[in-house]
Amino acid sequence: MSYCKQEGKDRIIFVTKEDHEAPSNAELIADDPDDPYEEQGLILPNGDINWNCPCLGGMASGPCGSQFKEAFSCFHYSKEEVKGSECIDNFRNMQECMQRYPELYPQEEDKESSSQEESSSASSSAASSDNSALSSEMDSSQVSSVVSSDSTSPTDNHAAS
């Protein structure tokens, strides 16, 4: 049984689970997916990549940012049968760059294997822990698993970006 009390200007309502079982009749305004003001996800309405997406952490802005952007862009726009198969050089560049900053991009073996399964790219050799960000295109929950399971790096994933 829900009940209500008033303390001055403040109203307090206590509700049981049953009280809240009926669906809400509160009306929310429909969202416009193309609203330019809204924060966009990884892929913008026009199909471009949103490099400022918080889900990417600091990937696009760090020292290897440009290599990452090239590799991911190549993959994203790839029309090959095996998506991204022509992007091996880009991924190699990216991996070489990332190896120079082990503090920022630690090479973790288990994440490499999981991202290999997800990304259909032939460039599995280039998979580092942060490649799994690429798979976000297919499945945003994958990104969240990367973002949240990373511990020491890229620490910016956990930053209030």
Binding site: D10, V15, E39, N52, K69, A160
Partner: protein, 635 residues
């Protein structure tokens, strides 16, 4: 530093009052000059009976004439002088741009030994040289040929961020993401690289690691460890390498303060007289903690035993002090004060530390939470081992026999060893004067528009920005997520986006392991509220929330756009008895029947719904129906 602040606070009211005086004078002068012709006859009439009116009137008329003549002459001279200065500066700018045009900026910092003075030095010198003012730009460069590139700071940077905190870092990342190869220079007067502030009053205190003050790493509830620094040093490039970096980068210049800003010339001056010009500038200077006047007036002995808490060094010193004393008092009942009180209170269970918290309100978070919830929270804080003194106004503080004595206005006397003052933040607007930027008189901070812009090429973000929120009106927000959101937005706008502040930032607070809430919008206890509560179970605690979502700092789940909770292992939370009624629920803050603020009380991962409700800005007839959207009975 403290005296500067004191001076500033003393001058601020003076400045305000003098401006009103000026305004009044102008009005009076305006009135007088308008009325002078008619004044004389009126005065004549009024002083008629007193006699001698004629002579007085003549003197009066002469005085007024002399004064107006004098003011006209003064005004003319000032305008002329200004014009001359302006023209001189324009000429100098023109000559400088000519010189700059002939020089490739990419090689500016390289020590190209050029015999000709002008190409090398169109703009001010390197940091180790003596400061050369613009008028001296035609001087030959000081020993450039022999100076190695590594010791020269850039004299120009495309993106200049003043302040090295959260907003600045978020902007740097945003700029780098959107402008490929961007060169970003962060200038901060702190010795540290950008770091996040919330753990300084929360997680770092709960760490088991004895070297935590050095490592500044903290373990989140789910066991994952991270540093408070946003990025390790290898993320950044050295300021001296910024110009030559092929792909650009983010450089942080620590220990340097920007003391002057020339908006017309698009350049700033550091405290060592170095000048750096910019294309786009962000001011993210944050603020400095306020102090109580009674403490400032109490003398040095008291000041030495007082901590104003904000930075890493404050955390380190407070940690050290709190281990060596018997009693500590926190003055202030808001977020910072309550969090520190709880953190120290938990520590007091192991040591013999007495933790006292005092504030003028009737309960913790009295300005944020409705009274019933504030009272409930105060009880929780007391359970954390804190002696809470409510409705406490400090009258005076003295130092006697190496102990501090705090005299309250109602007669209570508190003896303690150390004081932490958490009584608010003074936004840092020191640059407003030289930059000619507007400061908001209601909220403090730099006044900016909805796109966070103060002037062309100048944006402000974070604690120091008083901005226009399209939905909620003009405001200034002092929270971590706002620094992130506004910093990111400023970075977007600095790279051409022209977007207004639209994505509403949130904030959160944990007062011990059992009380946690997330909030969004305007959460002011003076507004009418409607709270919808359910009984809480052991699963509804901050600890459980972070374990489930696999995030540490809860704003991550917001700003990192994580869709759902993840596969992080969930350790069973210990059984927690929720005796009180306000276990979990949703509290709506209303302004003219529209929801402008929402608190999710021990209910987590529902911020997107709350954000949506605020964004809609609709009048809802039955808020219980709105509360249903939050599914408060579920996890």
């Amino acid at each position: 530093m403290l005296t500067c602040r004191t001076m500033w606070r003393k001058l601020a009211p003076l400045a305000r009052s003098s401006s009103t005086v000026c305004r009044q004078n102008v009005r009076r002068a305006g009135l007088n000059s308008g009325r002078t012709p008619t004044c004389v006859p009126a005065a004549h009439m009024s002083t008629g009976p007193a006699g001698g009116g004629g002579g007085d009137n003549l003197k009066y008329a002469v005085l007024v004439a002399a004064a107006s003549l004098g003011s006209v002459v003064y005004a003319y001279q000032t305008v002329k002088g200004d014009q001359q200065r302006y023209e001189a500066r324009l000429a100098e700018l023109a000559s400088r741009s000519q010189k700059a045009a002939s020089k490739d900026p990419a090689t500016l910092s390289q020590s190209e030994p050029t015999a000709a003075p002008s190409p090398e030095k169109p703009s001010p010198p390197a940091s180790d040289a003596k400061g050369a003012t613009p008028s001296k730009s035609t001087e030959p460069p000081p020993a450039v040929a022999s100076t190695p590139a590594s010791s020269k700071l850039p004299s120009h940077t495309p993106y200049l961020l003043i302040g090295g905190g959260t907003a600045s870092f978020a902007a740097a990342r945003s700029i780098r993401a959107r402008d490929p190869g961007a060169k970003v220079l962060i200038v901060t007067d702190e010795p540290d690289l950008p770091y996040m502030r919330p753990p300084l009053s929360k997680e770092l205190w709960f760490s088991d690691d004895p070297s935590v003050t050095e490592t500044l790493r903290f373990k989140q509830w789910n066991g994952k460890e991270r540093s408070i620094y946003f990025q390790p040093p290898s993320f950044y490039i050295s300021p001296t390498e910024l110009d030559s970096a092929a792909n650009g980068g983010v450089a942080v210049l620590t220990g340097k303060k920007v003391v002057q800003m020339d908006v017309r010339g698009n350049k700033i001056k550091l405290d060592d007289d170095t000048e750096i010009s910019y294309d786009k500038c962000l001011i993210a200077t944050g603020g400095v903690p306020r102090n109580l006047q009674v403490i400032e007036r109490a003398g040095e002995e008291v000041m030495k035993k007082t901590t104003l808490f904000r930075k890493i060094e404050d955390f380190k010193s407070l940690d050290k002090v709190s281990r060596n004393i018997e009693s500590i008092t926190i003055i202030g009942g808001g977020f910072l004060g309550s969090e520190l009180a709880c953190a120290l209170g938990r520590r007091s269970t192991d040591s013999n530390l007495e933790v006292i918290q005092m504030f003028p309100e009737r309960g913790n978070m009295g300005k944020v939470l409705p009274e019933y919830l504030s009272n409930w929270t105060t009880e929780k804080v007391k359970k954390e081992g804190v002696k809470v003194l409510t409705e406490a106004l400090v009258k005076s503080v003295t130092c006697k026999n190496d102990k501090l004595e705090i005299q309250l206005k109602d007669g209570r006397l508190v003896k303690t060893d150390h004081i932490v003052a958490a009584v608010g933040l003074e936004p840092n607007v020191e640059l407003a004067k030289s930059a000619g930027l507007e400061v908001d008189s209601d909220f403090g901070g730099f006044r900016v528009n909805a796109e966070l812009q103060a002037r062309s090429n100048i944006w402000v973000a974070g604690d120091a920005a008083c901005f226009y929120d399209i939905r909620l009106g003009r405001r200034r927000v002092e929270h971590h997520d706002h620094a992130v959101v506004s910093g990111r937005l400023a970075g977007e706008n600095m790279t051409g986006a022209s977007k207004p502040y639209w994505h509403q930032s949130m904030f959160w607070s944990d007062l011990g392991p059992d009380v946690g809430y997330e909030a969004i919008g305007i959460v002011d206890s003076s507004l009418p509220t409607v709270g919808v509560f359910a009984k809480a179970t052991a699963k509804d605690t901050p600890r459980a929330a972070t374990e489930q979502s696999g995030t540490g700092i809860r704003s991550e789940s917001e700003t990192e756009d994580t869709a759902t909770s993840t596969v992080a292992p969930v350790t069973p939370a210990p059984a927690v008895q929720q005796k009180d009624d306000y276990g979990k629920g949703v509290i709506f803050y209303l302004r003219d029947k529209v929801v402008v603020g929402i608190i999710l009380w021990n209910v987590f991962n529902r911020m997107p719904i709350a954000r949506k409700i605020i964004k809609d800005g609709e009048e809802h007839a039955d808020l219980n129906e709105v509360a249903k959207l939050f599914n408060i009975h579920e996890d």
